[in-house]
C-alpha cells in the first residue's frame, strides 16, 4: 500500500482552477520530485499535502487513513514534515534550540512534560546533536538562527523537519536562492537521507537538480499532470520540454533524446527549440536590427574593448551608446542572492529578451531595473544613474513596466488604471488614453469595468497599455505569456514587436523561450542568477544549450 495516495485532486481559488484531477502516489522510502514551470500548480499541490490549503474535491489518503480536515499542526502528528520556501527558522533561537523544539515530540503535549527544563533533557539533546551532525550543522549549533546564511537555513529547516521522525518529508523549493555550490552540497544532504527510510516529495523549479535526486518525477503544467516517470524519461518527454520552453509550438523536436540516461541528457537533447506558432515572428526578420545588436552577439564576458566596438557602430543616440547599460549588477534579498554580477545592454529600438527557467533571477533583474528592489553595480539609462533614482522617477523618466502576473489594480476601472500612470507624464492623460484604446480596441469597450473583472488576456493588454501611458523609451516586461492561451500570446507579441518597430526598446523576461526567441532581436540566457549565454535570438533558437539551461540546472 502506498504511503501517500492522492486521487482526482482539484483545487479552485474563486474562479481559477489551480489544480485539476491530479493523481499522485508515493511509496515508502521513495523520492519523488514535482516539477513544472511557473504557474503549474506545484506550490498548491505542496500546500494541500502540507495541510495549508483544503482541496475543492478529491481523495487524500496517508498511511492508509483518509485525511479529511488537514491542518498544518496536525500533519506533523500524522508523520508529514515540511520545509519552507522562504526562511522560517526561529531567528531568535539558537540552531540547536530550533531542532530541539521539533524533536521534543510528545513532551510538549503533556502538561508536566512541557514544564521540564529542556536543556536537562539529555535524550533530546543527544538527538539534536545527531541531527545537526547528519545535516552538517554541528559547528553552528550555538549560533542564533538568524545569523545563518541561506544554505545553512535550508539545512536547519531540513534538520527541524527530520526531528519529528516523519514518514514523509515535503521539501518546498529548497534550492531557491542558494547558488550552485549550495545546490551541490544540499543535494548531497538530501541524497544522504535515503538510509533513513523516509519518503521525500521535492517540489522544485531547478529541474535538473531535482531530477538528479529522485526516483520518479511528476510534471505539472497549468494545473494538470502532463507527465510522470523516471527522471530520464521525464527530461526527454516532448510535452515537458514544451511546457518549460514554450506552449505555442508542436513538440516534435524532442525525438531521439529519450534514450539518454541520467544527468547526461544534454548531449542528446533536442537540437532546436519547438517552432513558435507565432505568425508575428516572420515579419520581424525584416525589421532593421541595430548594428550594435549584431555586434553584441558575443558571450557575456565581452571585454570592454568589444563593447567599445559595438558602440562605434551603434545607431546615433545622445552618446551613441546603449539606452540601458547594466554592468556587474547584483540583487540580494536578505541572505538570498538572486542576481549575481549580471551585465546587459539594450540599444535604442532593440527588442531584447532574457530567457531562463523559473528561479533564474529574471524577475529580480527586471524589478531592479524598475527600482522595486535595490541592486549593486552599474545601471545607466540614457546617461542617468538609475540605481540612485526611486521607482516613481524611473517611471516618469521613460521606463514603462509590465509586472509579472500583470498586477492590474483590480478595484480600479480600466480607465483609472491608465490614469494612475498618466500622472507620471506632464502632457496629461486624455491623448494617451485614446492612443492606448486605439492600440487595444477591446479595452476601449471595457473602459468603465473594474480591472479585476477582465480576462487574463485583457489584463495583459491593460498592463501593456498602462505601461505605455508615460510614453516610455524602454518597456520592461516580465513574463507576459504566463497562464495565457497561445492565441493571446501571439497577439501580445505582435504588439511588442510593433512597439519595438516604432522605436521603443523592449526588455522582456520570459520563461517561454520559444515565443520570446522567435520575436526578439537579441537574447540573454539566465541560470541561477548568472548570465550564461547571449547572442542573436535567431541563433539561440537553434542552440540546444538553451534547453539545457532549463532542464539541466
Amino acid at each position: 500500500m502506498p504511503l501517500l495516495e492522492i486521487e482526482d485532486l482539484t483545487v479552485r481559488f474563486g474562479g481559477v482552477t489551480a489544480l485539476s484531477g491530479i493523481d499522485l502516489s508515493l511509496e515508502r522510502g521513495e523520492f519523488c520530485a514535482v516539477i513544472g514551470p511557473n504557474g503549474a500548480g506545484k506550490t498548491t499541490l505542496f500546500n494541500v499535502i502540507a495541510g495549508v490549503i483544503r482541496p475543492s474535491s478529491g481523495r487524500f489518503r496517508f498511511d492508509g487513513a483518509v485525511v479529511h480536515r488537514a491542518r498544518p499542526a496536525t500533519m506533523r502528528h500524522r508523520g508529514i514534515a515540511r520545509t519552507f520556501q522562504v526562511s522560517r527558522v526561529f531567528g531568535s533561537l539558537t540552531v540547536a534550540e530550533n531542532v530541539a523544539i521539533a524533536a521534543a515530540g510528545r513532551r510538549l503535549l503533556r502538561p508536566l512534560g512541557a514544564l521540564r527544563r529542556y536543556r536537562a533533557d539529555s535524550e533530546v539533546s543527544d538527538r539534536v546533536a545527531q541531527l545537526l551532525a547528519d545535516t552538517g550543522l554541528s559547528r553552528r549549533a550555538r549560533d542564533r538562527a538568524d545569523a545563518l546564511n541561506i544554505g545553512d537555513v535550508r539545512r536547519l529547516d531540513i534538520a527541524r523537519a527530520l526531528a519529528g521522525d516523519p514518514a514523509l518529508l515535503l521539501l518546498d523549493e529548497p534550492a531557491a536562492g542558494i547558488g550552485v555550490d549550495g545546490m551541490r552540497s544540499l543535494g548531497e544532504l538530501i541524497s544522504s537521507l535515503r538510509g533513513r527510510g523516509v519518503s521525500v516529495l521535492l517540489v522544485e523549479h531547478y529541474v535538473g537538480w531535482a531530477l538528479s535526486l529522485v526516483d520518479r518525477a511528476v510534471v505539472l503544467d497549468m494545473g494538470e499532470k502532463i507527465a510522470e516517470g523516471l527522471p530520464a524519461d521525464v527530461r526527454a518527454n516532448p510535452r515537458v520540454i514544451t511546457a518549460y520552453l514554450g506552449h505555442s509550438g508542436q513538440a516534435g523536436a524532442a525525438e531521439g533524446s529519450a534514450a539518454s540516461g541520467g544527468r547526461d541528457g544534454a548531449e542528446t537533447a533536442p537540437a532546436a527549440l519547438p517552432p513558435s506558432a507565432s505568425t508575428a515572428a516572420g515579419p520581424l526578420a525584416n525589421r532593421a536590427r541595430t548594428a550594435a545588436a549584431q555586434q553584441e552577439s558575443s558571450t557575456v564576458g565581452a571585454t570592454p574593448s568589444a563593447r567599445a566596438d559595438a558602440r562605434t557602430v551603434a545607431p546615433p543616440t545622445t552618446d551613441g551608446a546603449a539606452l540601458l547599460r547594466i554592468a556587474d549588477l547584483s540583487v540580494t534579498y536578505g541572505h538570498v542572492s538572486a542576481v549575481r554580477g549580471v551585465s546587459l545592454n539594450v540599444h535604442p529600438g532593440e527588442f531584447v529578451t532574457v530567457v531562463g527557467a523559473n528561479g533564474a533571477g529574471k524577475s529580480s533583474l527586471l524589478k531592479c531595473v524598475m527600482g522595486l528592489v535595490p541592486g549593486a553595480g552599474t545601471m545607466i539609462f540614457s546617461d542617468r544613474d538609475l540605481l540612485s533614482e526611486p521607482a516613481h522617477r524611473r517611471a516618469a523618466g521613460g521606463i514603462g513596466y509590465v509586472p509579472e502576473g500583470r498586477r492590474i489594480f483590480p478595484g480600479l476601472t480600466v480607465e483609472e488604471n491608465l490614469k494612475v500612470t498618466a500622472g507620471a507624464h506632464p502632457d496629461g492623460a486624455a491623448p494617451m488614453i485614446d492612443q492606448v484604446f486605439a492600440m487595444f480596441p477591446s479595452l476601449a469597450r471595457r473602459r468603465h469595468q473594474f480591472g479585476g473583472n477582465l480576462s487574463g488576456g485583457e489584463q495583459s493588454m491593460l498592463a501593456m497599455g498602462r505601461a505605455m501611458m508615460t510614453q516610455p523609451h524602454l518597456l520592461v516586461a516580465d513574463e507576459i505569456t504566463l497562464g495565457l492561451a497561445p492565441v493571446v500570446v501571439d497577439e501580445l507579441f505582435e504588439h511588442l514587436t510593433r512597439m519595438a518597430a516604432s522605436g521603443i526598446s523592449v526588455l522582456l523576461a520570459e520563461q517561454n523561450a520559444a515565443v520570446a526567441l522567435a520575436a526578439a532581436d537579441r537574447a540573454y540566457v539566465m541560470e541561477v542568477g548568472h548570465m550564461t549565454m547571449t547572442g542573436p535570438a535567431a541563433d539561440l533558437r537553434q542552440d540546444h544549450r538553451v534547453i539545457a539551461a532549463y532542464l539541466e540546472m
Binding site: 517611471a395 509586472p403 478595484g411 490614469k419 494612475v420 507624464h425 501611458m469
Partner: protein, 288 residues
C-alpha cells in the same frame, strides 16, 4: 426616539471625521495611527484659543486644521516612515506613546482645567417633533453629509482618490507606474489630521468644553470603528461611525444599559471580532 436619532447621527458624523484619516492610512500602510486623535485635541485648543482672542470660530477651526496638518506631516515623516519596516504593532504602540505624550503636552501648555467654547452657529434651529435641535447639531449633520459625499467623490473621481486606491491595492506596482507613494502617504496624513482637527472643534462647540483628555475616548473608539468598517475601507469606516454613534445613543436611551456609552463600542467590537475575526466588511476596496 427622535432625540436619540439626532444625537446618534451627529456624534456619528464626528466619529466619521475622526476615523476617516486613520482608515485611509491603514489602507496604505497597514498600520493603525492613534495619534490622529491628538489632532482632534490640538485643533480644538488652537480653535478655542483664537476664539478667545476674538477671532471667529471658523477661522480658529481653519488655524487648528493647519496646525494639525503640520503635526501629521511631521509624525509621518520622522516617526512612522522610519518605523514602518518594524511591523504594525511597533507603529501602533509608538502612536499610543505619541498620543499620551501629546495629551500631557496639551495639559502643560493649556492647563488642565476645561475651557468653554461658546459658539452659536447661525443655522436654522428650533424644535422638531418636540426635540430641540441646535445650530451646532445642524452644522454637524451638514458636515457629516458633506464628508460622506465628499469622500465618496474624492475617492471615486479625483486623482488623489485613484492613486490612493491603486497604492492601497498594490503599492509596488503603483510605484512602478510612477506614483510617488511617499507623497500620497503625506497627502493622506495631512487630510486625515485636518479632518480630525475639524472634528475636535465641532466636538468642543457641541459640548462647549475643551479639555486635554477630550481625545481619550474618541481615540480608542476610532480603532473600534475602523475595524468594524473593514480595515482600510473608507466607506465602511464612515458607515461604521454612524452605526456606532446611533447604537450608543439608542442603546443608552432605551435599554437603560448598565455600562456607559463609551464601552458599547468595545463590547460590540469584541463580539464582532470573535464571530468575524477579519472585521465586518473586510477588503472593500483592496481586492487581491
Amino acid at each position: 426616539m427622535f432625540p436619540a436619532l439626532v444625537d446618534g447621527i451627529t456624534v456619528g458624523a464626528l466619529y466619521a471625521l475622526l476615523a476617516l484619516g486613520p482608515s485611509l492610512v491603514y489602507g496604505l500602510l497597514r498600520v493603525l495611527d492613534i495619534a490622529n486623535a491628538a489632532a482632534l485635541v490640538l485643533g480644538a485648543y488652537i480653535g478655542v484659543t483664537l476664539f478667545q482672542h476674538g477671532l471667529p470660530w471658523w477661522l480658529g477651526a481653519l488655524a487648528g486644521m493647519a496646525g494639525s496638518v503640520i503635526l501629521g506631516l511631521l509624525l509621518q515623516r520622522f516617526l512612522y516612515r522610519p518605523l514602518l519596516d518594524q511591523g504594525p504593532l511597533v507603529v501602533l504602540v509608538a502612536s499610543i506613546g505619541v498620543f499620551i505624550a501629546m495629551e500631557e503636552a496639551f495639559r502643560l501648555i493649556w492647563k488642565p482645567y476645561p475651557r468653554q467654547f461658546p459658539v452659536t452657529v447661525p443655522l436654522p434651529h428650533g424644535t422638531i417633533a418636540g426635540t430641540p435641535v441646535t445650530g451646532v447639531q445642524v452644522l454637524m449633520l451638514i458636515l457629516g453629509v458633506v464628508v460622506l459625499l465628499g469622500s465618496w467623490w474624492v475617492l471615486g473621481h479625483t486623482r488623489l482618490g485613484f492613486t490612493w486606491r491603486a497604492t492601497a491595492q498594490d503599492r509596488e506596482t503603483a510605484r512602478a507606474m510612477g506614483v510617488n507613494v511617499n507623497r500620497v502617504v503625506a497627502g493622506i496624513f495631512a487630510a486625515g489630521y485636518a479632518l480630525a482637527a475639524l472634528a475636535g472643534v465641532l466636538f468642543a462647540i457641541r459640548y462647549n468644553t475643551v479639555t486635554p483628555d477630550m481625545g481619550d475616548v474618541p481615540a480608542y473608539k476610532m480603532l473600534a470603528i475602523i475595524v468594524l468598517g473593514g480595515l482600510g475601507n473608507p466607506m465602511g469606516t464612515i458607515l461604521a461611525a454612524f452605526v456606532i454613534g446611533l447604537a450608543e445613543s439608542i442603546v443608552n436611551t432605551y435599554w437603560g444599559f448598565i455600562l456607559p456609552r463609551d464601552t458599547i463600542a468595545f463590547l460590540v467590537l469584541i463580539a464582532i471580532l470573535l464571530i468575524r475575526p477579519a472585521g465586518l466588511l473586510p477588503k472593500g476596496l483592496t481586492r487581491a
